[in-house]
Symmetry: C2
Subunit: 261 residues, 2 copies
Protein backbone atom coordinates (compact mmCIF):
# COMPACT_ATOMS: atom_id res chain seq x y z
CA UNK A 1 0.00 0.00 0.00
CA UNK A 2 1.31 3.39 -0.99
CA UNK A 3 0.57 6.37 1.23
CA UNK A 4 1.78 9.93 1.01
CA UNK A 5 1.42 13.51 2.06
CA UNK A 6 1.67 16.90 0.45
CA UNK A 7 3.34 19.66 2.50
CA UNK A 8 2.34 22.99 0.99
CA UNK A 9 2.46 26.71 1.74
CA UNK A 10 -1.14 27.82 1.18
CA UNK A 11 -1.87 31.38 0.10
CA UNK A 12 -4.56 32.81 2.35
CA UNK A 13 -7.97 32.95 0.70
CA UNK A 14 -6.78 31.89 -2.77
CA UNK A 15 -8.37 28.48 -3.26
CA UNK A 16 -7.69 28.32 -7.00
CA UNK A 17 -3.95 28.84 -6.62
CA UNK A 18 -3.80 26.44 -3.68
CA UNK A 19 -5.65 23.76 -5.69
CA UNK A 20 -3.29 24.31 -8.64
CA UNK A 21 -0.20 23.98 -6.45
CA UNK A 22 -1.36 20.71 -4.90
CA UNK A 23 -2.22 19.29 -8.33
CA UNK A 24 1.14 20.29 -9.77
CA UNK A 25 3.07 18.84 -6.84
CA UNK A 26 1.34 15.48 -7.07
CA UNK A 27 1.89 15.35 -10.82
CA UNK A 28 1.52 11.80 -12.13
CA UNK A 29 1.90 10.06 -8.75
CA UNK A 30 -0.52 7.30 -7.94
CA UNK A 31 -1.22 6.04 -4.42
CA UNK A 32 -3.75 4.44 -2.11
CA UNK A 33 -3.98 7.31 0.38
CA UNK A 34 -2.86 10.95 0.14
CA UNK A 35 -3.17 13.38 3.05
CA UNK A 36 -3.23 17.18 2.57
CA UNK A 37 -2.80 19.77 5.34
CA UNK A 38 -5.56 21.20 7.52
CA UNK A 39 -7.38 24.04 5.66
CA UNK A 40 -5.04 23.44 2.72
CA UNK A 41 -7.04 25.58 0.29
CA UNK A 42 -8.13 28.51 2.48
CA UNK A 43 -5.25 29.34 4.83
CA UNK A 44 -5.61 29.43 8.59
CA UNK A 45 -5.35 32.86 10.19
CA UNK A 46 -8.80 34.39 10.06
CA UNK A 47 -9.40 37.82 11.58
CA UNK A 48 -13.20 37.62 11.71
CA UNK A 49 -15.79 34.88 11.67
CA UNK A 50 -17.14 36.34 8.42
CA UNK A 51 -13.85 35.66 6.67
CA UNK A 52 -14.09 32.00 7.64
CA UNK A 53 -17.76 31.80 6.66
CA UNK A 54 -16.96 33.29 3.26
CA UNK A 55 -14.41 30.54 2.63
CA UNK A 56 -16.69 27.74 3.91
CA UNK A 57 -18.32 25.14 1.72
CA UNK A 58 -20.79 22.31 1.58
CA UNK A 59 -19.86 18.78 0.63
CA UNK A 60 -20.47 19.24 -3.08
CA UNK A 61 -18.64 22.50 -3.73
CA UNK A 62 -15.25 23.41 -5.16
CA UNK A 63 -13.01 21.61 -2.62
CA UNK A 64 -15.06 18.44 -2.94
CA UNK A 65 -14.84 18.68 -6.73
CA UNK A 66 -11.11 19.34 -6.68
CA UNK A 67 -10.47 16.42 -4.32
CA UNK A 68 -12.66 14.10 -6.38
CA UNK A 69 -10.73 14.97 -9.55
CA UNK A 70 -7.46 14.43 -7.70
CA UNK A 71 -8.70 11.13 -6.33
CA UNK A 72 -9.69 9.85 -9.75
CA UNK A 73 -6.37 10.96 -11.23
CA UNK A 74 -4.21 9.37 -8.52
CA UNK A 75 -6.45 6.42 -7.66
CA UNK A 76 -6.03 7.43 -4.04
CA UNK A 77 -8.35 8.16 -1.16
CA UNK A 78 -7.66 11.83 -0.38
CA UNK A 79 -8.02 13.41 3.06
CA UNK A 80 -7.72 17.20 3.17
CA UNK A 81 -8.84 20.03 5.42
CA UNK A 82 -11.57 22.54 4.56
CA UNK A 83 -14.12 24.79 6.24
CA UNK A 84 -17.36 22.85 6.36
CA UNK A 85 -20.62 24.74 6.41
CA UNK A 86 -23.84 23.28 7.75
CA UNK A 87 -26.74 25.59 8.49
CA UNK A 88 -25.47 28.45 10.64
CA UNK A 89 -22.39 26.57 11.77
CA UNK A 90 -18.94 26.19 10.29
CA UNK A 91 -16.46 23.49 11.26
CA UNK A 92 -12.73 22.93 10.93
CA UNK A 93 -13.15 19.69 9.00
CA UNK A 94 -11.30 17.17 6.89
CA UNK A 95 -13.00 15.70 3.85
CA UNK A 96 -12.49 12.09 2.78
CA UNK A 97 -12.90 11.50 -0.95
CA UNK A 98 -12.33 8.34 -2.99
CA UNK A 99 -12.40 7.80 -6.75
CA UNK A 100 -16.10 6.95 -6.20
CA UNK A 101 -16.68 10.43 -4.77
CA UNK A 102 -17.34 12.12 -1.41
CA UNK A 103 -17.15 9.68 1.53
CA UNK A 104 -17.68 11.95 4.53
CA UNK A 105 -16.02 14.47 6.81
CA UNK A 106 -14.40 14.61 10.22
CA UNK A 107 -15.15 17.73 12.27
CA UNK A 108 -12.27 18.66 14.57
CA UNK A 109 -13.13 17.80 18.18
CA UNK A 110 -10.43 19.90 19.87
CA UNK A 111 -10.17 23.46 18.58
CA UNK A 112 -6.94 25.37 19.13
CA UNK A 113 -6.90 28.95 20.35
CA UNK A 114 -8.86 31.38 18.14
CA UNK A 115 -10.34 28.54 16.10
CA UNK A 116 -12.86 28.62 18.97
CA UNK A 117 -13.94 32.08 17.83
CA UNK A 118 -14.66 30.99 14.27
CA UNK A 119 -15.61 27.32 14.34
CA UNK A 120 -18.07 25.09 16.13
CA UNK A 121 -16.34 22.05 17.55
CA UNK A 122 -17.26 18.65 16.16
CA UNK A 123 -20.25 16.92 17.70
CA UNK A 124 -20.26 13.62 15.87
CA UNK A 125 -18.75 10.35 17.05
CA UNK A 126 -15.39 9.38 15.61
CA UNK A 127 -15.74 7.04 12.66
CA UNK A 128 -13.59 4.80 10.53
CA UNK A 129 -13.67 5.14 6.76
CA UNK A 130 -13.49 1.60 5.35
CA UNK A 131 -12.35 2.04 1.77
CA UNK A 132 -10.39 -0.32 -0.50
CA UNK A 133 -9.44 -2.59 2.41
CA UNK A 134 -8.02 0.35 4.42
CA UNK A 135 -9.55 1.34 7.74
CA UNK A 136 -8.83 5.05 7.84
CA UNK A 137 -9.25 7.22 10.92
CA UNK A 138 -9.02 10.99 10.71
CA UNK A 139 -7.91 13.55 13.27
CA UNK A 140 -6.87 17.18 12.79
CA UNK A 141 -3.80 18.98 14.14
CA UNK A 142 -4.31 19.82 17.88
CA UNK A 143 -6.24 16.55 18.34
CA UNK A 144 -2.78 14.95 18.65
CA UNK A 145 -2.45 16.30 22.19
CA UNK A 146 -5.48 14.34 23.41
CA UNK A 147 -4.45 10.68 23.52
CA UNK A 148 -8.10 9.64 23.50
CA UNK A 149 -8.51 10.58 19.83
CA UNK A 150 -5.91 8.24 18.32
CA UNK A 151 -6.84 5.63 20.95
CA UNK A 152 -10.55 5.76 20.13
CA UNK A 153 -9.83 5.58 16.40
CA UNK A 154 -7.56 2.57 16.94
CA UNK A 155 -10.13 0.83 19.13
CA UNK A 156 -12.71 1.43 16.39
CA UNK A 157 -10.41 -0.39 13.99
CA UNK A 158 -8.22 2.23 12.32
CA UNK A 159 -5.13 0.80 10.61
CA UNK A 160 -3.93 4.23 9.62
CA UNK A 161 -4.71 7.72 10.89
CA UNK A 162 -4.76 10.57 8.40
CA UNK A 163 -3.73 13.72 10.28
CA UNK A 164 -4.04 17.01 8.39
CA UNK A 165 -2.29 19.72 10.41
CA UNK A 166 -1.29 23.38 10.61
CA UNK A 167 1.19 22.96 13.43
CA UNK A 168 2.86 25.96 15.01
CA UNK A 169 4.64 24.18 17.88
CA UNK A 170 7.46 21.60 17.78
CA UNK A 171 6.02 18.78 19.93
CA UNK A 172 3.63 16.86 17.70
CA UNK A 173 6.06 14.94 15.53
CA UNK A 174 7.70 13.11 18.44
CA UNK A 175 4.33 12.56 20.07
CA UNK A 176 3.11 10.82 16.91
CA UNK A 177 5.77 8.18 17.55
CA UNK A 178 4.12 7.56 20.92
CA UNK A 179 0.65 7.59 19.33
CA UNK A 180 1.78 4.88 16.90
CA UNK A 181 3.49 2.74 19.52
CA UNK A 182 0.63 2.88 22.00
CA UNK A 183 -1.94 1.95 19.33
CA UNK A 184 0.12 0.02 16.77
CA UNK A 185 -1.29 2.09 13.92
CA UNK A 186 0.31 4.00 11.08
CA UNK A 187 -0.07 7.77 11.00
CA UNK A 188 0.34 10.32 8.21
CA UNK A 189 0.71 13.88 9.49
CA UNK A 190 0.46 16.39 6.62
CA UNK A 191 1.61 19.76 7.90
CA UNK A 192 2.01 23.08 6.09
CA UNK A 193 4.87 25.57 5.99
CA UNK A 194 5.02 29.34 5.56
CA UNK A 195 3.87 32.28 7.66
CA UNK A 196 0.59 34.10 8.02
CA UNK A 197 0.57 37.58 9.52
CA UNK A 198 -3.02 38.78 9.67
CA UNK A 199 -4.59 41.16 12.18
CA UNK A 200 -2.71 40.83 15.47
CA UNK A 201 -1.78 37.20 14.80
CA UNK A 202 1.45 35.94 13.32
CA UNK A 203 1.83 32.21 12.85
CA UNK A 204 4.85 30.39 11.50
CA UNK A 205 3.95 26.85 10.51
CA UNK A 206 6.51 24.22 11.27
CA UNK A 207 6.47 21.68 8.41
CA UNK A 208 8.15 18.35 9.18
CA UNK A 209 5.22 16.33 7.89
CA UNK A 210 5.71 12.77 8.97
CA UNK A 211 4.72 9.19 8.18
CA UNK A 212 5.13 7.01 11.26
CA UNK A 213 4.99 3.25 11.41
CA UNK A 214 2.96 1.03 13.76
CA UNK A 215 6.26 0.23 15.54
CA UNK A 216 7.28 3.85 16.07
CA UNK A 217 9.71 4.11 13.18
CA UNK A 218 9.59 7.41 11.29
CA UNK A 219 9.26 6.36 7.64
CA UNK A 220 9.24 9.88 6.21
CA UNK A 221 10.05 13.28 7.64
CA UNK A 222 9.72 16.42 5.53
CA UNK A 223 11.91 19.52 5.90
CA UNK A 224 10.73 22.28 8.24
CA UNK A 225 10.52 24.99 5.61
CA UNK A 226 10.20 23.52 2.13
CA UNK A 227 7.26 22.50 0.02
CA UNK A 228 7.57 18.73 -0.04
CA UNK A 229 5.80 15.58 -1.09
CA UNK A 230 6.59 11.98 -0.24
CA UNK A 231 5.06 8.57 -0.83
CA UNK A 232 5.96 5.41 1.10
CA UNK A 233 5.02 1.76 0.76
CA UNK A 234 3.58 0.27 3.93
CA UNK A 235 2.13 -3.10 4.93
CA UNK A 236 -1.14 -2.11 6.52
CA UNK A 237 -1.81 -5.64 7.81
CA UNK A 238 0.94 -5.03 10.40
CA UNK A 239 -1.37 -2.57 12.14
CA UNK A 240 -4.01 -5.27 12.57
CA UNK A 241 -1.77 -7.44 14.72
CA UNK A 242 -1.74 -6.02 18.25
CA UNK A 243 0.55 -8.69 19.69
CA UNK A 244 3.76 -7.32 21.20
CA UNK A 245 5.13 -10.76 22.09
CA UNK A 246 3.63 -14.17 22.89
CA UNK A 247 2.22 -12.88 26.19
CA UNK A 248 1.26 -9.26 25.51
CA UNK A 249 -1.49 -8.00 23.24
CA UNK A 250 -1.80 -4.23 23.27
CA UNK A 251 -5.59 -4.17 23.28
CA UNK A 252 -6.34 -7.31 25.30
CA UNK A 253 -3.96 -6.03 28.00
CA UNK A 254 -5.97 -2.84 28.51
CA UNK A 255 -7.75 -2.51 31.89
CA UNK A 256 -10.66 -0.18 31.08
CA UNK A 257 -12.27 -0.78 34.46
CA UNK A 258 -9.45 1.25 36.00
CA UNK A 259 -9.41 4.05 33.42
CA UNK A 260 -11.14 7.39 33.79
CA UNK A 261 -12.89 8.65 30.72
CA UNK B 1 10.27 21.15 45.87
CA UNK B 2 13.16 18.78 45.43
CA UNK B 3 12.60 15.47 43.64
CA UNK B 4 15.06 12.81 42.63
CA UNK B 5 15.68 9.29 41.48
CA UNK B 6 18.19 6.57 42.17
CA UNK B 7 19.33 4.50 39.19
CA UNK B 8 20.88 1.28 40.49
CA UNK B 9 22.07 -2.09 39.29
CA UNK B 10 20.30 -4.51 41.66
CA UNK B 11 21.87 -7.86 42.46
CA UNK B 12 19.28 -10.59 41.98
CA UNK B 13 17.89 -11.89 45.24
CA UNK B 14 20.26 -9.96 47.52
CA UNK B 15 18.01 -7.49 49.31
CA UNK B 16 20.56 -6.54 51.96
CA UNK B 17 23.22 -5.50 49.44
CA UNK B 18 20.64 -3.70 47.31
CA UNK B 19 19.37 -1.77 50.35
CA UNK B 20 22.95 -0.88 51.32
CA UNK B 21 23.76 0.38 47.83
CA UNK B 22 20.69 2.63 47.70
CA UNK B 23 21.46 4.02 51.15
CA UNK B 24 25.08 4.70 50.25
CA UNK B 25 24.16 6.39 46.96
CA UNK B 26 21.69 8.75 48.61
CA UNK B 27 24.16 9.61 51.35
CA UNK B 28 23.17 12.81 53.10
CA UNK B 29 20.79 14.07 50.41
CA UNK B 30 17.45 15.43 51.53
CA UNK B 31 14.44 15.81 49.28
CA UNK B 32 10.66 15.87 49.08
CA UNK B 33 10.26 12.85 46.80
CA UNK B 34 12.69 10.08 45.84
CA UNK B 35 11.82 7.37 43.32
CA UNK B 36 13.61 4.01 43.21
CA UNK B 37 13.40 1.45 40.38
CA UNK B 38 10.82 -1.29 40.00
CA UNK B 39 11.76 -4.33 42.15
CA UNK B 40 14.86 -2.42 43.26
CA UNK B 41 15.72 -4.84 46.08
CA UNK B 42 14.90 -8.21 44.51
CA UNK B 43 15.91 -8.08 40.86
CA UNK B 44 13.57 -8.84 38.01
CA UNK B 45 14.25 -12.02 36.08
CA UNK B 46 12.52 -14.83 37.95
CA UNK B 47 12.63 -18.35 36.59
CA UNK B 48 9.80 -19.78 38.69
CA UNK B 49 6.87 -18.39 40.60
CA UNK B 50 8.38 -19.81 43.78
CA UNK B 51 11.42 -17.59 43.39
CA UNK B 52 9.18 -14.53 43.27
CA UNK B 53 7.07 -15.75 46.20
CA UNK B 54 10.20 -16.29 48.27
CA UNK B 55 11.21 -12.66 47.70
CA UNK B 56 7.71 -11.26 48.36
CA UNK B 57 6.75 -9.28 51.44
CA UNK B 58 3.91 -7.76 53.36
CA UNK B 59 3.65 -4.06 54.10
CA UNK B 60 5.52 -4.24 57.37
CA UNK B 61 8.54 -6.30 56.39
CA UNK B 62 12.14 -5.52 55.47
CA UNK B 63 11.53 -3.33 52.39
CA UNK B 64 8.95 -1.30 54.25
CA UNK B 65 11.37 -0.88 57.18
CA UNK B 66 14.25 0.06 54.90
CA UNK B 67 12.13 2.62 53.04
CA UNK B 68 10.81 4.09 56.28
CA UNK B 69 14.36 4.54 57.61
CA UNK B 70 15.37 6.12 54.30
CA UNK B 71 12.34 8.38 54.38
CA UNK B 72 13.08 9.60 57.91
CA UNK B 73 16.72 10.18 57.03
CA UNK B 74 16.03 12.14 53.82
CA UNK B 75 12.75 13.74 54.85
CA UNK B 76 11.37 12.51 51.52
CA UNK B 77 8.40 10.49 50.43
CA UNK B 78 9.96 7.37 48.88
CA UNK B 79 8.39 5.33 46.09
CA UNK B 80 10.09 2.04 45.28
CA UNK B 81 9.19 -1.28 43.72
CA UNK B 82 8.79 -4.56 45.63
CA UNK B 83 6.98 -7.88 45.43
CA UNK B 84 3.81 -7.48 47.46
CA UNK B 85 2.27 -10.55 49.03
CA UNK B 86 -1.39 -10.74 50.00
CA UNK B 87 -2.91 -14.13 50.74
CA UNK B 88 -2.05 -16.47 47.88
CA UNK B 89 -1.31 -13.67 45.46
CA UNK B 90 1.83 -11.69 44.73
CA UNK B 91 1.90 -8.37 42.90
CA UNK B 92 4.50 -6.27 41.09
CA UNK B 93 3.95 -3.27 43.36
CA UNK B 94 5.42 0.06 44.35
CA UNK B 95 5.36 1.09 47.99
CA UNK B 96 4.84 4.70 49.07
CA UNK B 97 6.46 5.58 52.39
CA UNK B 98 6.71 8.94 54.15
CA UNK B 99 8.58 9.90 57.33
CA UNK B 100 5.30 9.06 59.09
CA UNK B 101 5.50 5.50 57.77
CA UNK B 102 3.84 3.25 55.22
CA UNK B 103 1.29 5.10 53.06
CA UNK B 104 0.11 2.44 50.64
CA UNK B 105 1.02 0.54 47.50
CA UNK B 106 0.27 0.62 43.81
CA UNK B 107 -0.13 -2.78 42.14
CA UNK B 108 0.96 -2.75 38.50
CA UNK B 109 -2.06 -2.83 36.20
CA UNK B 110 -0.26 -3.84 32.99
CA UNK B 111 2.14 -6.75 33.38
CA UNK B 112 4.89 -7.23 30.83
CA UNK B 113 5.70 -10.60 29.30
CA UNK B 114 6.60 -13.29 31.88
CA UNK B 115 5.54 -11.06 34.77
CA UNK B 116 2.15 -12.56 33.90
CA UNK B 117 3.48 -15.96 34.96
CA UNK B 118 4.56 -14.77 38.40
CA UNK B 119 2.32 -11.87 39.40
CA UNK B 120 -1.38 -11.14 39.68
CA UNK B 121 -2.22 -7.89 37.96
CA UNK B 122 -3.48 -5.02 40.05
CA UNK B 123 -7.19 -4.92 40.76
CA UNK B 124 -7.51 -1.70 42.72
CA UNK B 125 -8.49 1.71 41.36
CA UNK B 126 -5.68 4.17 40.73
CA UNK B 127 -5.21 6.53 43.64
CA UNK B 128 -3.39 9.72 44.45
CA UNK B 129 -1.14 9.92 47.51
CA UNK B 130 -1.66 13.36 49.01
CA UNK B 131 1.37 13.93 51.20
CA UNK B 132 3.08 17.16 52.24
CA UNK B 133 1.14 19.21 49.69
CA UNK B 134 2.21 16.89 46.84
CA UNK B 135 -0.36 14.90 44.88
CA UNK B 136 1.63 11.85 43.86
CA UNK B 137 0.45 9.30 41.29
CA UNK B 138 2.30 6.04 40.83
CA UNK B 139 2.67 3.84 37.78
CA UNK B 140 5.19 1.08 37.05
CA UNK B 141 7.33 0.54 33.96
CA UNK B 142 5.18 -0.96 31.10
CA UNK B 143 2.18 1.11 32.29
CA UNK B 144 3.79 3.94 30.28
CA UNK B 145 2.57 2.38 27.04
CA UNK B 146 -1.08 2.70 28.08
CA UNK B 147 -1.94 6.41 27.91
CA UNK B 148 -4.94 5.84 30.16
CA UNK B 149 -2.74 5.34 33.23
CA UNK B 150 -1.01 8.73 33.27
CA UNK B 151 -4.25 10.32 32.05
CA UNK B 152 -6.35 8.79 34.82
CA UNK B 153 -3.77 9.77 37.45
CA UNK B 154 -3.72 13.34 36.13
CA UNK B 155 -7.52 13.53 36.06
CA UNK B 156 -7.53 12.31 39.67
CA UNK B 157 -5.28 15.23 40.57
CA UNK B 158 -1.68 14.01 40.27
CA UNK B 159 0.89 16.81 40.09
CA UNK B 160 3.72 14.37 39.72
CA UNK B 161 3.88 10.74 38.66
CA UNK B 162 6.46 8.50 40.30
CA UNK B 163 7.43 5.84 37.76
CA UNK B 164 9.64 3.01 39.00
CA UNK B 165 10.84 1.02 36.00
CA UNK B 166 12.95 -1.89 34.76
CA UNK B 167 12.92 -0.87 31.11
CA UNK B 168 14.44 -3.10 28.46
CA UNK B 169 13.29 -1.15 25.37
CA UNK B 170 14.28 2.34 24.23
CA UNK B 171 10.88 3.98 23.69
CA UNK B 172 9.66 5.02 27.12
CA UNK B 173 11.83 8.07 27.74
CA UNK B 174 10.56 9.98 24.70
CA UNK B 175 7.03 8.84 25.41
CA UNK B 176 7.25 10.35 28.90
CA UNK B 177 7.65 13.74 27.23
CA UNK B 178 4.31 13.14 25.53
CA UNK B 179 2.77 11.89 28.80
CA UNK B 180 3.85 15.14 30.50
CA UNK B 181 2.67 17.41 27.70
CA UNK B 182 -0.73 15.75 27.32
CA UNK B 183 -1.39 15.89 31.08
CA UNK B 184 0.72 18.83 32.23
CA UNK B 185 2.24 16.79 35.04
CA UNK B 186 5.78 16.14 36.16
CA UNK B 187 7.12 12.59 35.90
CA UNK B 188 10.06 10.86 37.58
CA UNK B 189 11.09 7.63 35.83
CA UNK B 190 13.59 5.68 37.94
CA UNK B 191 15.04 2.94 35.78
CA UNK B 192 17.75 0.38 36.55
CA UNK B 193 20.86 -0.68 34.65
CA UNK B 194 22.77 -3.92 34.37
CA UNK B 195 21.97 -7.32 32.93
CA UNK B 196 20.19 -10.37 34.26
CA UNK B 197 20.76 -13.72 32.57
CA UNK B 198 18.65 -16.30 34.34
CA UNK B 199 17.08 -19.43 32.90
CA UNK B 200 16.39 -18.83 29.21
CA UNK B 201 15.92 -15.09 29.70
CA UNK B 202 18.54 -12.42 29.23
CA UNK B 203 17.52 -8.83 29.91
CA UNK B 204 19.67 -5.75 29.52
CA UNK B 205 18.14 -2.82 31.36
CA UNK B 206 18.42 0.53 29.63
CA UNK B 207 19.00 3.17 32.32
CA UNK B 208 18.35 6.75 31.20
CA UNK B 209 16.18 7.52 34.21
CA UNK B 210 14.44 10.79 33.55
CA UNK B 211 12.69 13.69 35.25
CA UNK B 212 10.34 15.40 32.83
CA UNK B 213 8.59 18.71 33.31
CA UNK B 214 4.90 19.52 32.87
CA UNK B 215 5.87 21.36 29.67
CA UNK B 216 7.79 18.46 28.15
CA UNK B 217 11.26 19.64 29.06
CA UNK B 218 13.64 16.88 30.20
CA UNK B 219 15.07 18.20 33.49
CA UNK B 220 17.33 15.23 34.17
CA UNK B 221 18.48 12.31 32.05
CA UNK B 222 20.76 9.63 33.51
CA UNK B 223 23.39 7.71 31.53
CA UNK B 224 22.35 4.40 29.92
CA UNK B 225 24.84 2.25 31.79
CA UNK B 226 25.99 3.93 35.00
CA UNK B 227 24.70 3.90 38.53
CA UNK B 228 23.40 7.43 38.93
CA UNK B 229 21.43 9.67 41.23
CA UNK B 230 20.01 13.13 40.59
CA UNK B 231 17.86 15.63 42.43
CA UNK B 232 16.10 18.58 40.80
CA UNK B 233 14.09 21.52 42.11
CA UNK B 234 10.65 21.82 40.58
CA UNK B 235 7.66 24.11 41.07
CA UNK B 236 4.85 21.64 41.51
CA UNK B 237 2.17 24.35 41.35
CA UNK B 238 2.88 24.61 37.62
CA UNK B 239 1.27 21.19 37.17
CA UNK B 240 -1.97 22.46 38.71
CA UNK B 241 -2.51 25.04 36.00
CA UNK B 242 -3.92 23.28 32.94
CA UNK B 243 -4.24 26.44 30.83
CA UNK B 244 -2.27 26.34 27.57
CA UNK B 245 -3.25 29.88 26.54
CA UNK B 246 -6.17 32.20 27.23
CA UNK B 247 -8.53 30.01 25.20
CA UNK B 248 -7.32 26.45 25.80
CA UNK B 249 -7.44 24.47 29.03
CA UNK B 250 -6.10 20.96 28.65
CA UNK B 251 -8.76 19.33 30.80
CA UNK B 252 -11.76 21.57 30.04
CA UNK B 253 -11.09 21.03 26.32
CA UNK B 254 -11.47 17.25 26.64
CA UNK B 255 -14.52 15.75 24.89
CA UNK B 256 -15.17 12.56 26.86
CA UNK B 257 -18.50 11.98 25.15
CA UNK B 258 -16.54 11.10 22.01
CA UNK B 259 -13.87 8.94 23.66
CA UNK B 260 -13.93 5.16 23.91
CA UNK B 261 -12.89 3.74 27.23
Amino acid sequence: MRVGYVQTSPIFGDKETNFKNVKQLIGVQTADLIVLPELFATGYTFTTKEEAINLSEGNNDETSKFLHDLSKKTGAVIVGGFIEKEGNQIFNSAMVVSPDGFQGTYRKLHLYYKEKLWFSSGSRQLKIFEINDMNIGVMICFDWLFPEVARSLALKGADIIAHPANLVMPYCQDAMITRCLENRVYTVTANRIGEEKRGIDHFKFTGKSQITSFNGIVLSSAPADEIFIEFIDIDISQARNKNLNELNNLFEDRRPHFYIK
